[in-house]
Amino acid sequence: MGLVDATQAALLLLVSGDAELWGTVGVSLSVTLRAMLIAMPLGIAAGYLLATNDFPGRRLLIIVTQGLLASPTVVVGLILYLLLSRQGIFGELQLLFTQTAMVIGQVLIALPVLVAFSLSAIQGADPRARETALALGAGAPRIAWTLLLEVRFALMAAVCSAFGRIVSEIGCALMVGGNIAGVTRNMPTAIALETSKGDFAQGIALGIVLLLVALGINSAFAFFQGESRR
């Protein structure tokens, strides 16, 4: 099949509501959304605590977080694989090659992004915001909520950035998911493996969807970043 034919077939898959194609898209989005739901509150809370508290080891934690931003996802996958494999310490949970394993992996990849970005978002807040809340009699929880609201656009940018990183990552999803059709096959693993098996149409169709998702997320990121600087 030539490239033109394959592209035509891909477009047909897209418009005809191909079950396999949209199933793979569904796995991707469902895994990534669940990972974000877990990682968002954890990452933002950790960023807030790092930004507003001084404690021994804080500098080190920030440096480690910055370092983890650059961690290759395949290495995260490798470590998680070792932990979840039958001989690993979490082997009994039998999570390897499940969506849960993929969710855990994506949470681990998203966390440093969320922590680092929300840390800098909160550090970038006007110091008078906290002082004003304090002067008006707010307690610690209300002050925290107020500050997060004041930097909401920067936080949304952080969320978009984390989402973009995990929805398109392949290394970890492949290692701990295993590309099982209908279960753990997501867009990136399907594109890589189906194409290498010669199914160009699936690959191209998924590539188009993933590209659109990435474009959407990046536009949202740019929008929120712009808003946060106003």
């Binding site: 004003t132 304090l134 002067a135 009699g137």
Partner: protein
């Protein structure tokens, strides 16, 4: 009757003494204008009193109830409020800004709405209700910050140069608000160089020289 008594309030930074106040006594129902050269520590004193900055040491009594700064007590925080020289407005609506302190105090919704409504009239902000706070002029921002403080009926109001950076009209409107604020029973301490503020009725003068108060 004294509202606030402060003893041995000290603050230094990098071995430089910013404030060393042996004794400060504010009477209930009076108002004070705090003067002093640039850098004499006016803002620092207000921020210490408001519990926004921590001093190196000091103790106090509010309405006869003793307190210290480590930690600054929550009950005292609810008796007073502080307004920045350039007020910070939350990125929400004008009404939400005014309601902020009421929410923090757990004031029920109906009562809150009534109080916010009063404050909008008091500060003559009603016609601006739909304007995002960030779009307000300097004078309107100052009025909103005053309304946000006034709605709490604080016993002590700490104001940092409320009329600096305002044009003549806004200045007059702000001074008018300060006059009515004072007559509502609130004790105010206003860092200020503005003649018209200094000459408001019942204003006592506190002069800061070299980190000390000359009363």
């Amino acid at each position: 009757m004294s509202l606030l008594v402060v003893r041995s309030l000290a603050k230094s930074l990098a071995r430089r003494v910013l404030l060393a106040i042996d004794d400060l006594n504010l009477s209930a129902g009076k108002s004070y204008v705090l003067t002093g050269e640039n850098g004499s520590g006016k803002s620092t004193l207000l921020r210490l009193l408001a519990g926004i900055e921590a001093p190196d040491g000091g103790s106090g009594c509010f309405e006869g109830r003793p307190f210290g700064w480590k930690p600054y007590p929550d009950w005292l925080r609810r008796q007073l409020t502080y307004v920045h020289q350039q007020p910070y407005l939350f990125h929400s609506s004008i009404a939400d800004n005014i309601a902020y302190g009421l929410r923090a105090r757990g004031v029920a919704r109906g009562e809150r709405e009534r109080l916010v409504d009063d404050a909008l009239s008091w500060a003559r902000l009603r016609h601006l209700l739909d304007t995002p706070p960030a779009r307000l002029s300097g004078g309107e921002k100052q009025r909103l910050a005053l309304a946000r403080a006034w709605v709490l009926r604080p016993k002590l109001l700490l104001l940092d140069e409320p009329t600096a950076n305002l044009d003549a009209d806004s200045r007059q409107q702000t001074i008018e608000l300060l006059r009515t604020f004072g007559s509502s029973g609130t004790t105010a301490v206003i860092a200020c160089h503005d003649r018209d503020v200094i000459e408001l009725p019942d204003m006592q003068r506190l002069d800061l020289v070299g980190g000390r108060i000359v009363q």
